[in-house]
Symmetry: C2
């Protein structure tokens, strides 16, 4: 694949790549990750499918890029939310709220990260790092609310607990499992957040 990182050629290349990403996200939103089709994207862009292999090594490769992009976007969102205040409790609330907004506005994007994985597939190492970056703001905020011994470990456990509880709500909400069930996801989410903040 091409080397130059600047110049008109590189600029055009990046334009095409992001346009592909945009179409890909649209497809994922309406047909899920398994519905992602290079051929369909190419047609929407007025090209033929093989042309896209100049930009992405494979369909899986594109999907991996999208997963990493989702991770990065969530990490930035979470970090920005934490930066909006200095008070630890407010930070936890802000991060949790931002997480929910992020998940609800694009459920398939959330599930691309935290949903059903393909058994064989292993995410690149960068994904693990980004997952930790998403985790970190919550943990440091929760740590700041603690005093005494083993603060590190206790705040980690608390963060895991918060994370799994919020994810429990978000994942069922994103999957539509509350749709037939007299449940208010936003309220439930708030209660789960409170349950950890009170403990």
């Amino acid at each position: 694949m091409p080397q130059p990182t600047d110049g008109p050629r590189a600029r055009y290349r990046e334009q095409v790549r992001t346009e592909v990403h945009d179409h890909a996200w649209a497809q994922i939103a309406e047909a899920g990750a398994s519905g992602l089709s290079l051929k369909a994207i190419a047609q929407q862009m007025g090209m033929t499918a093989p042309a896209l292999y100049r930009y992405f090594a494979s369909r899986d490769d594109l999907l991996t890029e999208l997963v990493l992009a989702a991770y990065r976007d969530l990490a930035e969102t979470v970090e920005a939310a934490a930066a909006r205040t200095g008070d630890p409790t407010r930070q936890v609330r802000a991060v949790s709220g931002a997480l929910r907004v992020w998940a609800v506005q694009a459920p398939q994007r959330y599930l691309l990260i935290y949903g059903t994985p393909v058994p064989g597939y292993t995410a690149p190492p960068e994904a693990t790092e980004l997952a930790q970056r998403i985790f970190a703001p919550l943990q440091s905020a929760l740590a700041a609310r603690l005093t005494g011994a083993r603060r590190e470990r206790r705040s980690f456990d608390l963060t895991v607990r918060l994370w799994t509880r919020l994810h429990g709500v978000l994942s069922l909400e994103a999957a539509g499992h509350f749709d037939t069930m007299d449940v208010e996801p936003a309220t439930l989410f708030a209660h789960e957040l409170a349950s950890v903040l009170e403990s």
Copy 2:
């Protein structure tokens, strides 16, 4: 498709159908739902792919059967667990434990029910009924631990809370998200169960 419900023909038919199901589950376990291939199943059974269309209208049709089979199996598992004791608290523990065993022993089967859905796809009505059957034993056990006004609603809310918390752990565990993270899923699960029983 054929009518008779008994006789040698019907018996053979059922044998083939269940053999297809078995191969399908094996494929799902090792390649996920998206890896399910009628042609591969046919080859494993020494037949050609079109032959399977005598038994299943389509690949999606087979998948729907598998989803419903998973629902039914989980419903029976949960009901059996609840029936093992009369004490409500023990019932909640038994059902939760059975749920975790069921989920961990076949993560892809659990995720087939509670994991990422395909956006367009709508499960048959029977799925919703079975989901309620899975929910019911927990709710009645939790209701039996309550007294006072609005017991119905309070036990429902409590069951939703328990369900989302357990699912939060199970879904992240099934997806392998704890693998790189010093977390003991079984312990976490037990703590989450306890958190609801104590509330």
